[in-house]
Symmetry: C2
Subunit: 204 residues, 2 copies
DNA sequence: TTGAAAATACCTATATGTGGGGATGTTTTG
DNA sequence: CAAAACATCCCCACATATAGGTATTTTCAA
C-alpha cells in the first residue's frame, strides 16, 4: 500500500484527485492540506510514502515545505504538481528535494504513474519538461541570497529608497544590486526588473 | 438530465471533476476543452445546459468565450470557475454573461450545487465573494477601451514612448491616459501601474 | 589562508514615470 | 439635442530607475 499526502491550495482539485484515486487499490490518501504549514503537520503525523505538493500556497510555499520535508524525512518522495513550467520553478523544486515534477495541464493519469514511480524511489518528470535544459539554464545565472531578498521587495512595489531603509543599507547599494541582477538575468530597459520580479515572484 | 461542458486549461482538474461528477445520475458531461476556442466548438455542437468556464485559458480567455456563448445561446448558463477573487475579474465575467462564480479553493461540492442551481436558471455565487461589493467597486471605476488597450501594452513592458509610436499618438497622450488610469484604479507611487497591469493581465 | 564572490557605497548622466495644472475636439448616451 | 465621457495634446517639476564607471570590506569555499 502506497500512502500519499496532497498539498494544494485549490480544494476543488484535491476533491477531484480524491475521486480519481479512489479507484486505486494500492494507493491510500492519508491526508491533504491547503497550505504548506498544514502539509508539514500531516507529514509529521502520517509520514506518507509520497507527498504531492503545489508550489504556490498560502502561509508556506511548496519549495520551502519540500525543503523542510526532505530535511526531516529524506526517505519521503516529493512530487511537485503545479502550473509553472518555467525553468526557475522546476529547478528550485528539484533543489529543494523533489524527485518528480508534473504540470497541471497534464491528465491525472500522469500523476498516477508518477505516484507509482516515486514510490519505487525513482524520478518522474512531465514529458513536457526538458530536464537537461532546466539544469543548464538555471545553474549558470542564479541570484545571490541578498539579491533574491531585494528582488522579493521589488516585487512588492517597494522603491529602492524604501528597500534601503528596510535593510538599513544605502540606496546606492540597492542600485548596484539592481544593476547586477539586470545583468545576470539579461534584462534591459526601464522597469524590466520589476516586471520580472512580479512574474517570477512565486519562485521565492 | 443536465448536460454540462467544461473548459479549463488544467487537464488534471478536468479529470478530477469527471471522476467526481460521475456519481451524479442527473448530470452528464457532454464535453470538455482546454481552451476557449475548443469550448466554443463543443458548445455549438452539444448546446449544453451549463458551461463551466475558467478565465485564464490559452487561445481565448474565459471572458471572451463567455461573451460569445451568451451572444449565440443566451439560454445557456455559464458558471465561472477560477482562482481569481479580484472584483475586476468577477465583474468582467458577470458582464460577459456568467450567472455563477465559484473559486477553485472551494470544494467540488460547491460546483455541484452551482450546476444544479444554474440549471434552474438561478444565479450562484461563491460564499467567499461579496457580490454587492463587487458591483459597487467596479461599476464606479472601469477603464475605457483605449485605456485597457494601453494598459495591456504597459503589461508587455512597453514604455510610454513605444506605446505612442505603436498607436501613432503622442507620448503626452499616453502620459495622460496613465494618469487617468492611476486615478481610476486608486494607485499611487512609481510603477504601481505596471505592477497592476502585470498582475491583472488575465483581465484583458 | 588566499582568492573569488558577494555586499557595501559612491559618482555622473540619462530615460522614464508620476503629479499638478490646463486645453480642445469627438463620441457616447440619457 | 445636450451633457458626460473619452481621446487627444501641451506645460512644468520632481521622483525613480537605468547605465556606465570605480572602489572598499566582508564572507565563504578551495
Amino acid at each position: 500500500m502506497i500512502t500519499v499526502a496532497i498539498a494544494e491550495d485549490h480544494q476543488a482539485l484535491i476533491d477531484g484527485m480524491l475521486s480519481y484515486l479512489e479507484y486505486e487499490e494500492d494507493i491510500s490518501i492519508v491526508g491533504y492540506a491547503n497550505d504548506g504549514k498544514a502539509l508539514l503537520d500531516i507529514v509529521r503525523r502520517k509520514q506518507p510514502n509520497v507527498v504531492i505538493c503545489d508550489i504556490r500556497m498560502p502561509k508556506m510555499d511548496g519549495i520551502v515545505a519540500t525543503r523542510h520535508i526532505k530535511k526531516e524525512f529524506p526517505h519521503i518522495n516529493v512530487l511537485a504538481f503545479t502550473m509553472y513550467d518555467q525553468d526557475k520553478a522546476v529547478q528550485q523544486m528539484l533543489d529543494a528535494g523533489a524527485t518528480g515534477y508534473i504540470l497541471k495541464n497534464s491528465p491525472l493519469k500522469v500523476v498516477l504513474e508518477a505516484i507509482y514511480t516515486l514510490s519505487e524511489n525513482k524520478t518522474y518528470y512531465d514529458a513536457k519538461l526538458n530536464i537537461e535544459q532546466v539544469s543548464k539554464n538555471s545553474s549558470t545565472s542564479i541570484l545571490s541570497r541578498r539579491e533574491k531578498e531585494i528582488l522579493a521587495l521589488i516585487a512588492q512595489r517597494k522603491t529602492s529608497q524604501e528597500i534601503a531603509d528596510l535593510l538599513f543599507i544605502s540606496k546606492s547599494t540597492i542600485d548596484t544590486h539592481r544593476k547586477n541582477m539586470i545583468q545576470k538575468l539579461q534584462l534591459q530597459g526601464a522597469n524590466e526588473l520589476l516586471g520580472y520580479a512580479i512574474e517570477q515572484k512565486y519562485a521565492f
